[in-house]
Every structure is written in structure tokens, then in C-alpha cells.
């Protein structure tokens, strides 16, 4: 099975721990062929809200010169998507969010109803399960709650079959998170 790990720069040194490497190694140890990509905001153009990815070049972002379309391809062809991000006011970090705005080509413009709400239809037959790991040594309970809810809400629009939101605030959370991730990967693999 394939996993795609997207991480921001700060995750390479969280309280002296390289979280990106830890997560990548853990995914590999569980049998996932893992592609890890560091997301640096300055290397991506911002989404300009043109919807060209839906009505000009359906399924592909019209902005050229960066790796957004390539990562969108990796995402669709992975069984698990893991996003490792600094928590910023309960949101993803600005770098991760800049890329996420560019992944909407992976869904269809057409509306559908999911759980009684309006969402976009799938473009592809299958989508990866989604793990959103937020880390911050200085995160309030409210921001933790916002982040976890955001991951859950994104999973609906990402059409993820299964979702796991995790928040890491200290070293105890890291081992706890790895244990939850382990159980989740068993579920995904079965």
C-alpha cells in the first residue's frame, strides 16, 4: 500500500524531534511505501479562485511552474494521506494551507448531498484515508478542538473513507499518537 506524507518545515524539529522522519519511518515499518514531501509555501503559487481546474482543464490546476498537480496525482494514487502540520490558530500552517487550496482539482465541481449537507461530488472512484497530525508546543484546548474538527470536516470534502485527527503538544502525545496511528493503519490495511 502507498502512503503520501506532506509535512511542513518546522516538523523536522519539534522539541528536538524530527516528526517528519518519525512518521515516515513508522509508515514504512507498517508496510506502506511512503513518499514524503516537504511543503514549502514559497514554492507554490497561491490559488487564485479561477476554477480553471474545473472548467478549463478539468482535474488539473491551470497554474504552471510548481508541483501542485504532481502532488495531487500522488494523493489520488495513495491509500493513506498523512498531513503533518504546525497548528496555526487551529488551522494548518500557512505553507500546508497554501498547497491544500490547490488540491481542489481532485474533486468535481458538481454538487451532491452528504450527511444532509451540500458538498462536491467525487472526481475519482477512490480517495486515500486521511490522517491530520497537528503539532504545537503552545496550543490552547480551543485551537486543538478547532484543528481536530477541521480535519474531520476536510475528510468529507476529500472523500476520505476513514479519518484520524491527532494533536501533538509534547513528547507524551508523540507516543500516544503513534499508538493511535498504528491502530488506524491496521484498520486501513484490513
Amino acid at each position: 500500500m502507498r502512503a503520501l506524507l506532506l509535512y511542513d518545515e518546522a516538523s523536522e524539529n519539534f522539541n528536538g524531534v524530527n516528526l517528519a522522519e518519525e512518521v515516515k519511518n513508522f509508515l514504512e515499518s507498517k508496510g506502506f511505501t511512503t513518499k514524503a514531501r516537504k511543503i514549502i509555501g514559497s514554492e507554490f503559487k497561491p490559488c487564485i479562485g479561477c476554477f480553471g481546474c474545473w472548467v478549463k482543464t478539468p482535474g488539473l490546476c491551470v497554474l504552471k511552474g510548481d508541483k501542485a498537480n504532481e502532488i495531487n496525482n500522488d494523493m489520488i494514487n495513495a491509500q493513506v494521506l498523512v498531513i503533518l502540520t504546525n497548528i496555526q490558530y487551529g488551522s494548518y500552517s500557512k505553507d500546508i494551507k497554501k498547497y491544500l487550496d490547490r488540491q481542489i482539482p481532485n474533486i468535481s465541481p458538481f454538487f451532491t448531498i452528504i450527511n444532509g449537507e451540500t458538498h462536491h461530488q467525487k472526481r475519482y472512484n477512490s480517495y486515500p484515508c486521511f490522517v491530520g497530525i497537528g503539532y504545537s508546543a503552545n496550543v490552547s484546548d480551543t485551537e486543538k478542538k478547532t484543528f481536530k474538527t477541521l480535519v474531520q470536516r476536510n475528510s468529507i470534502n476529500f472523500h476520505a473513507p476513514k479519518t484520524l485527527p491527532l494533536v501533538i503538544g509534547n513528547e507524551v502525545d508523540i507516543s500516544k499518537g503513534i499508538s493511535e496511528l498504528s491502530n488506524f493503519l491496521v484498520e486501513v490495511s484490513s
Binding site: 490559488c47 479561477c50 498547497y99 487550496d101 451540500t118 490552547s140 478547532t146 474538527t149 477541521l150
Partner: protein, 220 residues
């Protein structure tokens, strides 16, 4: 009357529904509102000057579209940058209202985006007032004249008018966030939206490709 500044989160270069909303608020209040587009601020050589101007405001409006259940990346980046200027500010900080318009039918899908702005205010010392989440945002169609007392966007006009009253009267009681959408059944909003995509795609000669799967290695 207080100085009002709007931070526009839409990355669209000219017209946007976010700037249309600010335009309408300005008309209701009979007052100019200085608008700054987040994407322009983060790229501006004089970013610090603009940030200091923003912090001169009595009222700061965050007005933005919902992007992937939260804030557009450029708005988030502008906020991170502004936080540094906020930390050095010795003046009294503006009161904040946030307006998030979403292309989905359900206004409540803006909840997390408004929470993020509230969390930001809590962290930086800005005074959070309340947020307005707008559903059926596609119907604003970047045109302020669509937001009027009569017609399907009358509910939205009413809520914006109440916001203007709160701003002009210096309303100080805490309010919960307000969620409002157009007076239109869901099926009709979906029908109109779906038809719109087909029309634009036909114009671009890609109607038959609308459901293309360029990344599908199995080609199914």
C-alpha cells in the same frame, strides 16, 4: 464615526464576492471602508506600513471566501505576518468582525473558518465581536447590487444591515456567530450551480471532459 478597514481574503485580482460584501456594507453605512487584499499585503514591499495602517482602524473586518473548510492560504499568511506587528503595537487594537461566504448551500460550513479568526483574536489581543457565515455565496456573483432587501438574498442584506447598526452604534454586547443563506431551496441552488459549470465548460469546449480523471492510473 470609527475608522473601518477590511482585510479581503479572496485572492481574485479584481472583482470578488468578498469585496462586493464590503462595498454593500460601505453603502449601508454611508462610509468609506479601506480595503486591503491579503494577497497584495503579503507581496507588498511596504508590508509594515500597510499593517500599521490596518491597526489604526477602530473596526477591522475579515471578509473572505471559504477555502477547503477554512481560510484562503494567502489570508492565513497575511494574518501570521500581521501577528508580528500586533505584538509590537502599543495602541488599542481594533474590534474584529468576520464574514465568510461559502459556495455551499449551508452557511454553517463556515463555522471552523470563523473559529480560526476568533482563535487568532484571542491569541493576538484583537477584540473579537462576532462572525457572519453566509451560505449560497455563489449567488452574490461578485456583484454588490445582488445583496438587496428584496429578493433571494434579502436575508443576507438584513444581517449585513444589523452588522452596520452594531458597528455604527458601538454595540458592545457579545453575540454568537450568525449563519444566513439565500431564500432558495437546496435543489434549485444545486441545479443552478451545476448548470453554471456546464455552461462555462461548454464555452471553453471542455464540457465532455468535465468528469476527466487525469491522475487515475487504472483509467477506470
Amino acid at each position: 464615526m470609527s475608522k473601518i478597514v477590511a482585510l479581503i481574503g479572496s485572492p481574485k485580482p479584481k472583482k470578488s464576492s468578498s469585496s462586493a460584501i464590503v462595498h454593500r456594507i460601505s453603502e449601508i453605512l454611508h462610509k468609506d471602508i479601506t480595503q486591503y487584499r491579503a494577497l497584495d499585503i503579503i507581496n507588498a514591499p511596504n508590508r509594515n506600513v500597510i499593517e500599521n495602517e490596518i491597526l489604526q482602524a477602530d473596526i477591522l473586518l475579515f471578509v473572505f471566501p471559504l477555502y477547503v473548510d477554512s481560510l484562503p492560504g494567502s489570508l492565513l499568511e497575511a494574518m501570521v505576518d500581521l501577528e508580528k506587528t500586533l505584538q509590537n503595537s502599543t495602541k488599542s487594537l481594533p474590534k474584529v468582525y468576520a464574514i465568510c461566504n461559502c459556495g455551499f448551500y449551508d452557511a454553517e460550513q463556515t463555522t471552523i473558518a470563523l473559529d480560526i479568526i476568533q482563535n487568532y483574536c484571542h491569541k493576538t489581543g484583537l477584540t473579537w465581536e462576532y462572525g457572519i457565515g453566509i451560505g449560497c455565496g455563489g449567488m452574490i456573483a461578485e456583484d454588490p447590487s445582488k445583496i438587496k432587501a428584496q429578493g433571494p438574498l434579502g436575508n443576507i442584506f438584513k444581517v449585513l444591515s444589523e452588522l452596520c447598526t452594531d458597528i455604527s452604534q458601538g454595540f458592545n454586547e457579545k453575540k454568537d456567530n450568525i449563519f444566513v443563506k439565500a431564500s432558495i431551496p437546496r435543489f434549485l441552488y444545486h441545479f443552478g450551480g451545476n448548470m453554471g459549470w456546464n455552461i462555462i465548460a461548454k464555452h471553453n469546449n471542455v464540457k465532455k471532459m468535465l468528469r476527466a480523471k487525469p491522475h487515475d492510473i487504472t483509467k477506470n
